[in-house]
Subunit: 83 residues, 2 copies
């Protein structure tokens, strides 16, 4: 059984209110190191057998069509998870 990871982030020019909220909360927890936070999505896609080139191509297609909105998001990673 293999697994493919897909990473999606809001485009840099898109406002990320969740990230901004987190930046505001961290100092209340004593965490001062981070000037900016962006929140995106991480998907784990499970394939029955090994991760083939064909499965990776299918994952890239899924990433661009179902898992992200290309108007406001970038697919920043599609790769087989290391076993």
């Amino acid at each position: 059984m293999g697994r493919i990871i897909v990473e999606v982030m809001p485009k840099p020019e898109i406002l990320d209110p969740q990230g901004k909220a987190i930046v505001g909360v961290l100092p209340h927890q004593g965490i001062m190191q981070f000037g900016d936070v962006r929140q995106g999505k991480r998907f784990e896609l499970t394939v029955d057998g090994d991760v083939t080139d064909e499965a990776l191509e299918a994952a890239k297609k899924a990433a661009e069509t179902v898992l992200s909105n290309p108007i406001i998001e970038d697919v920043v990673g599609v790769y087989a998870e290391e076993q």
Copy 2:
């Protein structure tokens, strides 16, 4: 300027309705390869200088307190982004 990535996923025993919805939609796009999909979160934390051990420790603390709910989610990765 450095960046730390934090990855958070729902625990395996927690139902993931978003992932289930995606599994149901993919075949309509001609994508048949994936038997299971789980959706989690990916955060980018920006630090002013380089990523120090102290910044990584702060990111781990943020991951466990603000960025995830330990009851239902696992922090599956905290690492410096490669430049």
